[in-house]
């Protein structure tokens, strides 16, 4: 458990300097994302946790150890905090080979600190071919993978990442994101992840700390915050819901994979993950339509019976959010006011949710810290427009203890 309370001001009080006044806690596992617009203080918080910035007031404890307590005059030097940091600009040591960079923290880690070995990390991040090179000869994506490995090998008790993907273009991002996801699942270290990219939050985060202008706006499981239409998240075109689910079955003949969630199932193009894998899918509100009668002859794979729970305002003048419930699961849909009037939508109505697109989160045997998934996922009714794929039994969910990284591949 990391507990952070900070108060810090840059520049003079009278001038319009930046003032940070934030507090939050994060659990001992999973990814907690610090999310907010540019300049809201994310990097400042991260620096304070790492010890690279000494805030004017504050208290930081990690697993019960006090790292900082300005009232008590305690300030643990960064080199003794054992917080691995991945910087936006990777900060690899240019005069050392990739291998030496990786070993830099490892050599300085306490001998009794447990953690993945050199070979394991190299394999996990796919950087074996790079070991002899100098950082100057790496592409941006490779650099960030090495930086990840270096931080991980320092055997930290906490990983801090400051927009590790921000400097990368779309292709490069796509290259690093899966490694990050694997790291999250395999390393078993809590990760504090700073970003202003929503897709990274969706792909990686379990909990979210929403910041604005130096203050914490909201804090909680990603799934819960994603579905809240009162937060600025919803203003973005890609507001939606995140749904924990498990791979229930594969149907290679039809090229489909069935993902079971609490309340039903989705069919998505065939996935490589084995049956039983826990994952998360994202439904963007604008990818969900509703129908008052069961659609027929529609190419859309996923049509789910749902109840219209509420109609809430969207930021756009002529659109609203529909909050639908599919069993215990909430789904957001974004429709025009005109459609609401045209179809006569009212809370309590039974509808069909037409889900055009499903975004699959990076997979892995993930220890979700979000709202709990029932241990045996209830198998939903076959979807409206097709026969269910071959049913296979779903193995029990992996125990909360983390898979050691060595057994990953």
């Amino acid at each position: 458990m990391l507990e952070v309370t900070l108060r810090h001001r840059f520049g003079r009080a009278e001038a319009n300097g930046f003032a940070l006044e934030a507090g939050f806690a994060m659990p001992d596992s999973g990814v907690t994302a610090l999310f907010g617009p540019s300049g809201c203080g994310k990097s400042t918080i991260l620096s304070a946790v790492a010890g690279l910035l000494r805030p004017q007031e504050g208290r930081i404890t990690l697993h019960g150890t006090v790292l900082l307590d300005t009232a008590g005059g305690i300030f643990v030097a960064p080199e003794r905090r054992r917080c691995g940091v991945v910087f936006q600009d990777s900060r690899l040591f240019p005069h050392l080979s990739v291998a030496s960079n990786l070993r830099y923290g490892l050599r300085r880690a306490p001998p009794d600190a447990a953690g993945p070995g050199f070979e394991e990390v190299v394999a996990l991040l796919g950087i074996a071919p790079l070991l002899e090179r100098r950082p100057g000869r790496l592409s941006g994506g490779e650099r960030q993978r090495v930086a990840l490995g270096r931080a991980l090998l320092a055997r930290p008790r906490l990983l801090l990442m400051d927009e590790p993907l921000a400097a990368l273009d779309a292709a490069r991002r796509g290259e690093v994101l899966p490694f990050l996801a694997r790291l999250r699942d395999a390393a078993g270290i809590p990760i504090l992840y700073v970003t202003h990219a929503l897709d990274e939050v969706d792909a990686l985060a379990d909990r979210l700390v929403l910041l604005e202008a130096g203050r914490v706006l909201a804090e909680g499981p990603v799934e819960a915050l994603a579905a809240r239409t009162d937060l600025p998240l919803a203003a973005r075109r890609d507001a939606g819901s995140l749904i924990p689910c498990a791979v229930a079955a594969h149907d290679p003949a039809r090229g489909l994979t069935r993902l079971a969630f609490a309340g039903g199932a989705f069919h998505v193009p065939l996935r490589p993950e084995p049956v039983g894998t826990h994952a998360r899918i994202r439904l963007r509100a604008r990818d969900v339509a509703v129908a008052t009668e069961q659609p027929r002859g529609l190419s859309t794979q996923n049509i789910l019976p749902a109840i219209l729970a509420a109609i809430t305002e969207a930021n756009a003048a002529h659109e609203v959010f529909l909050r639908l419930t599919v069993g215990p699961t909430a789904i957001l849909a974004r429709v025009t006011r005109d459609s609401v009037a045209r179809l006569g939508l009212r809370p309590g109505m039974a509808l069909w949710a037409v889900v055009k697109a499903v975004t699959f989160d990076h997979a892995g045997a993930k220890a979700t810290t979000g709202p709990d998934l029932p241990d045996a996922v209830r198998v939903a009714e076959p979807v409206a427009d097709g026969a269910p794929p071959d049913e296979r039994p779903i193995p029990p969910r992996p125990s909360p203890g983390r898979t050691p990284i060595g057994r990953l591949r």
Binding site: A50, G51, L52, A77, P78, E79, R80, R81, R82, C83, G84, V85, F87, D89, R91, F93, P94, H95, Y104, G105, R108, A109, R134, P135, G136, R137, R150, A151, A154, L160
Partner: protein, 238 residues
């Protein structure tokens, strides 16, 4: 058996001796001043203490005061009657004045501002983010200085060392005043040149020796440029 040195390249044995001595003195002066220069450059670039500007000024002192005066000041300090030289001599039997070591000391003091400037510039180019990264990886102050800061500032150190070496080859006033003009011990090339100019018809000798001095310094600079290029490649700035 006394070593008999043939005149080579038109230089007399004594002149060759001056060349060797000059190289030795310049090299030693660089070696002597390198560590303090790095330390002081670090203080000047990174330190935040009240006397910083004064220290900066003091470092520049040899640049603004005539070399002869520097030599004279050194003589007063490090002479066997001086406040530093006295104890050194009485307790350890060490004598700097009139020895090759003394010539190196005088040269080191004179080139100190040059070397500090270059080293400081090199240090200012070191990305402090990398040092912060090393901290988060568990490296303490000394560890981080040795493994990160020092290698990254090495181009600046090299530049400083080369400039100091070149300037050291030409140092005159401080050396002749502090260490005297003793062939084989303190008569470096510039002093030999001076002696030649004090001799009737010594202009040709002086010019020849000046040329030798020039060629040596240039070779040093060229070598340094080569090394610098390699270094930059190594540091991934190539």
């Amino acid at each position: 058996m006394p070593l008999h040195v043939e005149p080579v390249l038109g230089l007399s044995a004594e002149e060759w001796q001056a060349v060797r001595l000059s190289l030795g003195v310049a090299a030693r002066s660089v070696l002597v001043s390198l560590i303090p220069a790095v330390g002081i450059a670090w203080l000047l670039a990174r330190g935040r203490f009240p006397g910083r500007t004064l220290l900066d000024a003091l470092v520049h002192l040899p640049l603004v005061v005539p070399p002869v005066v520097v030599g004279w000041g050194l003589l007063m300090l490090f002479g066997v009657r001086g406040p530093i030289g006295g104890p050194l001599h009485d307790w350890f039997g060490l004598r700097l004045v009139f020895t090759t070591e003394g010539a190196a000391l005088a040269t080191a003091v004179m080139s100190f501002p040059l070397i500090v400037r270059a080293v400081r510039l090199g240090l200012e180019h070191v990305d402090q983010g990398l040092e912060a990264a090393a901290r988060t990886l568990g490296a303490g102050p000394l560890d981080r200085f040795v493994t990160i800061t020092l290698p990254l500032m090495s181009p600046g150190i090299l530049a400083g060392a080369v400039t100091a070496f070149a300037a050291g080859l030409g140092e005159f006033g401080a050396v002749i005043t502090f260490a005297s003009n003793i062939p084989g011990e303190t008569q470096t090339l510039p002093l030999a040149i001076y002696t030649a100019t004090q001799t009737a018809g010594g202009e040709a000798t002086a010019a020849r020796l000046a040329l030798v001095s020039f060629v040596l310094a240039i070779s040093g600079l060229l070598l340094a440029e080569l090394i610098a290029r390699r270094m930059h490649l190594l540091l991934g700035r190539g």
